[in-house]
């Protein structure tokens, strides 16, 4: 009989975390930025078919970075959860807070239980009902949940992007300004030209379903 090697839990967690971080760092980042009419989600994405940003519920959007199939699995599970809750109770009972905790719980469970953690980071954004503060949540590969204000970045360059946005963002920023700030933040964080943008907004003017994809070219004046 072979005796399994003993690995200290500290070591195990460290290794898994390092593995996940490396995986995430290989992919491209995404930012969410509050502006006067809603929330802008913006990321570098050369593909027009594979989306990283998507609608989850009436006022809630999802964005994921890292391994596509893994955050896609999470995205679909999030939509299932949201639609189930909304159908069984009421549309008002689906909140970003509830979904973010569900994502956090799931990622946390996968991180400790599965041999390989998910190499992803996800972002949940929700626009407020009454022009109050919008909700921005970031959930990391190990299920840690962060409640952010005004703007948030996920992915390998999250730190640099946040740093740049701290300088570029200000209260009452318009959509065009927010878009320009996002693009500028990416320019500072990455030392190369973008190969294409994926952008979407959550905006009250869109009716019940606040999510709308943007044509990025319109904003960068191509």
């Amino acid at each position: 009989m072979t005796v399994p090697f003993y690995v200290a839990p500290e070591q195990l967690v460290r290794d898994k975390a390092e593995f996940a971080r490396k995986g995430i760092a290989r992919g491209r980042s995404i930012v969410a930025v509050d502006y006067s009419g809603g929330v802008l989600l913006l990321g570098e994405n050369p593909s027009t078919a594979l989306h990283k940003i998507s609608e989850v519920y009436d006022r809630i959007a999802f964005a994921g970075v890292g391994k596509y199939n893994e955050f896609e699995t999470l995205r679909k599970a999030g939509i299932r959860q949201a639609d189930l809750m909304g159908y069984l109770y009421s549309r008002d009972d689906v909140t970003a807070m509830g979904l973010a905790t569900a994502f956090a719980q799931t990622l946390g469970m996968i991180f400790t239980r599965d041999p390989k953690p998910f190499e992803v980071e996800v972002l949940i954004a929700e626009i407020s009902e009454d022009n109050g503060e919008h909700r921005l949540f970031r959930i990391s590969y190990d299920g840690t949940l962060y409640d952010e204000r005004n703007f948030v970045a996920i992915g390998g360059k999250a730190e640099q992007l946040t740093e740049a946005l701290e300088e570029l963002w200000h209260e009452g920023i318009s959509l065009e300004e927010a878009f320009a700030a996002g693009v500028e933040a990416f320019r500072r964080a990455e030392d190369r030209e973008s190969e294409g943008w994926e952008a979407a907004v959550l905006e009250d003017t869109n009716g019940r379903r606040a999510f709308r994809r943007l044509d990025a070219d319109q904003f960068i004046g191509k």
Binding site: H51, A77, R80, Q81, D83, M85, L88, L99, A102
Partner: protein, 259 residues
């Protein structure tokens, strides 16, 4: 909220399959020989095509036997951006079916990133109707009417259904409910090809008023209480629910025209 339903076995993009998997499907069985209680029933709804879209309309009455159960019930619902569904039969079951249908279409769209084709939506609705068949044997019948704008073929389409989930595409107009024959006979003599949206909306209201003259279960416009038919228009811009401000004058002139 618990953890996400990650391990659900192959739910695909269908919300009703997901409901089945988590055991929350709206199914019920009535014990054999049991007396089914009478429940409010919705009555007349109709849809007709015009040159670049469809108009769908329904009266506002629900009946229980010979009594009026509700005066302002809604029987025409937006299903998604390009389609609407109207219901006749047992109101409680029908409204639930509409709710499930709406969530199904939106769920598919979000999961797949693309809307179902109009044909696909109609097929799915037929499946929901067939699912009600055991209840139909107990006398609780639901028969919807479906209309929408076909984004691929670029014109409006109307589908009617029967009690067993049969689905029939109508080339001009369709209707269902207790006053549907009366409404159809009215439309048969007045319908014209290539109508405008406004003309189609007016004709739809006239047909409902006409049905309400002969069928007590169909409620005509109630000017005193300000109750008017629900009318929606669907074209390449999507579904538009006409407001009472628009429908009130149409209703008034319809009531003057119809003998």
């Amino acid at each position: 909220m618990g953890p996400l339903p990650l391990d659900v076995p192959v739910p695909g993009a269908s919300f009703s399959d997901l409901l089945d998997l988590v055991g929350a499907s709206p199914t019920f069985s009535v014990p054999e020989g049991a007396n089914v209680p009478s429940a409010p029933e919705g009555t007349t709804v109709l849809a007709l095509r015009y040159h670049n879209g469809v108009v769908m309309a329904g009266d506002r009455r629900a009946t229980e036997g010979n009594l009026v159960a509700h005066r302002r019930i809604q029987k025409v619902f937006q299903a998604d951006h390009y389609s609407a569904v109207a219901i006749a039969g047992t109101a409680g079951l029908a409204i639930d079916m509409v709710k499930l249908f709406q969530v199904e279409l939106e769920h598919y769209e979000k999961i797949e990133g693309i809307r179902l084709s109009l044909e696909g939506k109609a097929s799915f609705l037929a499946r929901l109707v067939r699912g009600q068949l055991p209840m139909a044997f107990q006398g609780l019948v639901v028969v919807p009417l479906f209309a929408g704008y076909d984004e691929r073929l670029e014109f409006g389409r109307v589908y009617s259904f029967d009690i067993v989930g049969g689905r029939y595409e109508e080339i001009d107009f369709g209707s269902t409910g207790s006053g549907s024959r009366l409404a159809r006979s009215y439309l048969r003599t007045t319908y014209e090809d290539e109508m405008t949206g406004d003309d189609a909306a007016a004709l739809a209201v006239q047909a409902l008023v006409s049905a309400s003259q002969e069928d007590t279960a169909t409620g005509g416009p109630d000017l005193r209480r300000g109750i008017f038919p629900n009318v929606v228009r669907i074209d390449s811009d999507g579904v538009e629910e006409l407001s009472d401000d628009v429908i009130a004058p149409i209703s008034e002139s319809a009531m003057e025209t119809i003998r």
